[in-house]
Amino acid sequence: MFDTLTGRLNAVFKKLRSRGKLHPKQVEAALADMRTALLEADVAVEVAEDLLERVRTRALSEEVMRSLTPAQQVVKVVRDELTATMGGTQAAFTLPSARPAVVMVAGVQGSGKTTACAKLARMVKEKGKHPLLVAADLQRPAAIEQLVTLGREIGVPVVSDGRDPVKVARSALKQAGREGLDVVIVDTAGRLHVDDEMMREARRVKEALRPHHVLMACDAMTGQDAVVQARAFMREVDTTGFVLTKIDGDARGGAALSITAVTGRPVFFVGTGEKLSDLEPFYPDRMASRILGMGDVLSLIDRAQEAMDQDRAREAAERMLKAQFTLEDFLVQMREMRKLGPIEELLAMLPGVPGGRSALKELAGGVDQAQLTRAEAIICSMTPEERRNPAIIGGSRRLRIARGSGTTTADVNALLKEFEAARKMMRTMMAGRGGRRPPRLPGMPTIPGTG
């Protein structure tokens, strides 16, 4: 649906192109499309409508109306508004130098509080601080054991001393003071915002802790209820910000927009996986692209910079851009890429192509991790000479390679053929560009900050 947003807007605006100027009617049609798109992304109805109201004003401005590419302009306006609503720039999570700094984590059941607490403790510890985890969830069976286990994994002490969350909180503060620990992170029980008694308890815990931050964990897959929850927690415990969890799925994450719009508080972190190191800063501009189905190339690059062997990858990429790459380079690229994570996840971060689903994503339907492994095995069974110059691979070499990699000669053939086709395609793409500027891919979003 979102993949086609720009495409559909293009269609809406096409008619007007002949008349040379954008008609307000067309803007209305575009806004209706945009509304559906935002609702499909789980943006709350009221937030979507407020946003579109602001977009309407800007979209009817001369600048957009006279633009040669009104569809892109309108999408850009929407994305700007989305980004601004989510705080514009990345909100820094700062802790006071007070000893101890106290962070309370709250949220509904299953939103990922306990995991978020452990991830946060790990992050704080990495920065050289001495955190203390506090298990104040006395409701769910084995919640304390869960936090204790996670604490052990990251080498952070966990306490839960008392039969009442308020007592647990007070005693933890005392212990942190005694032992000179500088950051106290308190996990609380999941509670539904309509449960008055539990919400009052959250308030009492907060009053006992006097936390510097009250983070609400919010599941990125949440629908229209996100605003109701966010408002209720805001009212009761004065949330200072959010942790958006489970963002590694394929939800558009409109909840991120909804909760920041109705509370005016930022999302500080996103949970990107099940490992305790999977906590990343939140970037409003990237989230805006994601909500609009424009991919999340920037996060992908961040990950690439962390995981990939920069020099090798760049070298191979440069040769690739000059269409001089060999199977050897391909092997390097494939291995570097696999370090980034499962292929499906990488593809989910890539932008869609206007007018249809991303071509790459469609390919992914036919490709899985096992096939990549097989391709790797085939190339590994070749001699360096064969990798550089596949033309020399004749019948007997082919048979040897197939045997060596546990595949068939047909598999080897298919890979070679495909490789040649890809190389040709590259050459065509690079033709006329002098091989110096990278080609512009269809659907590549404008990189924020580049204009």
Binding site: T36, L39, E40, E46, A84, G88, T89, A91, A92, V108, Q109, G110, G112, A142, A143, Q146, T149, E153, L192, H193, V194, D219, M221, G223, Q224, D225, V228, Q229, T245, G249, D250, R252, A255, A261, V297, L300, I301, A304, A317, M320, L321, F330, E336, E344, L347, L360, L363, A364, G366, Q371, L372, A375, D411, L415, A422, P438, L441, M444, G449, T450
Partner: protein, 329 residues
């Protein structure tokens, strides 16, 4: 050999390379810029509460017009039915509408028609019945299993639980507490064990003990994680091999889930043949309207609903009550 691996890899790498190039050429916006011009929070609007009443009031005045129908559509969207399904439902009802009809009743009828008649669990009584429980992280699998075990036990069946969540810290401890509450027997292994092995042991032991129902818990997993979905397929396969072919595969779906619920249901249905949905956390303000799209597109019915953390807070799904709740506002 699969298609276009080369193109795929090159494409991914190319996109990264191009984007990295663009960033190198023009330095990224300076970090730590003051948050000037921060938007004010959206002004408060009437929440979904009372919307049902407003819609009723709108219709009280006679023949409904565009605004009234749009109000009904918004009601459905606010219940997470999704814009596409909401638009279609309202359009169909509007076409059927005759003066004098109650539009709200017509919509309720339509919702019930989509959801189908009551679907209870279908468990055999002459042999071991097996229920496999799956879902994303935090949807409420373990709690649902605890409540279901208690309910089956109250019906006079002997119940055994398999602690197939060997990933999350203290998952089997959590299940152990529920097993004790429900009076069920628990088969579990240490954390990190192969969930398929736990499933195998559990079936073998359930058959040996002559247990009536075995409920298999699994670790929460995002439906986009291929290796984890493969692991789930394996659990199902192993259950079948061990002589415990699942009679029910319940997808536990959080009622607060938005449109992503469709993708979740589709992925789990494809992997392990989901037979029904257990819709949890309906005691909040979320309406769980996503199950309409799930039912429509995948044909998977809702079987159970969770309405609280208490051991008795599990009910058989009632489409009429559900439709009323969605339209009730």
């Amino acid at each position: 050999m699969g298609v276009d691996i080369v193109v795929l890899v090159l494409g991914v790498v190319l996109v990264i390379a191009v984007a990295a190039y663009a960033i190198r050429v023009r330095p990224r916006r300076a970090a730590g810029v003051e948050e000037a011009g921060r938007e004010e929070p959206a002004r408060a609007r009437p929440g979904p509460e009372g919307l049902g009443a407003r819609v009723r009031a709108l219709f009280a005045g006679g023949a409904p017009g565009d605004a009234e129908w749009a109000g009904l559509e918004e009601l459905l969207v606010r219940a997470d039915v999704g814009p596409a399904t909401a638009t279609r439902i309202v359009k169909e009802v509007r076409e059927r509408f005759a003066p004098g009809d109650d539009p709200r009743a017509l919509i309720a009828e339509e919702l019930v028609a989509i959801l189908g008649r009551d679907h209870g669990l279908e468990l055999p009584s002459d042999r071991l019945a097996v229920i496999l429980v799956v879902g994303v992280n935090g949807s409420g699998k373990t709690t649902t299993i605890g409540k279901l075990a208690a309910r089956l036990a109250a019906e006079g069946r002997t119940v055994s639980l398999a602690g197939g969540d060997t990933f999350r810290a203290a998952a089997s401890e959590q299940l152990e507490v529920w097993a004790a509450r429900a009076g069920a027997h628990l088969v579990a292994q240490e954390r990190g064990a192969d969930p398929a092995a736990v499933a195998f042991d559990a079936v073998t032991s359930a058959i040996a003990r002559g247990v009536d129902v075995l409920i298999v818990d699994t670790a929460g997993r995002l439906h986009t994680r291929t290796p984890l979905m493969d692991e789930l397929r394996k659990v199902r396969r192993v259950l079948e091999k061990a002589g415990g072919r699942p009679d029910e595969v319940l997808l536990v779906l959080d009622a607060t889930t938005g449109q992503n619920g469709i993708a979740q249901a589709a992925a789990f249905a494809e992997a392990v043949e989901v037979t029904g949905v257990a819709l949890t956390k309906l005691d909040g303000t979320a309406k769980g309207g996503i199950v309409l799209a799930v039912r429509e597109r995948l044909g998977v019915p809702v079987k159970l609903i969770g309405t609280g953390e208490g051991i008795g807070d599990l009910e058989t799904f009632d489409p009429h009550a559900f439709a009323e709740r969605i339209l009730g506002g």
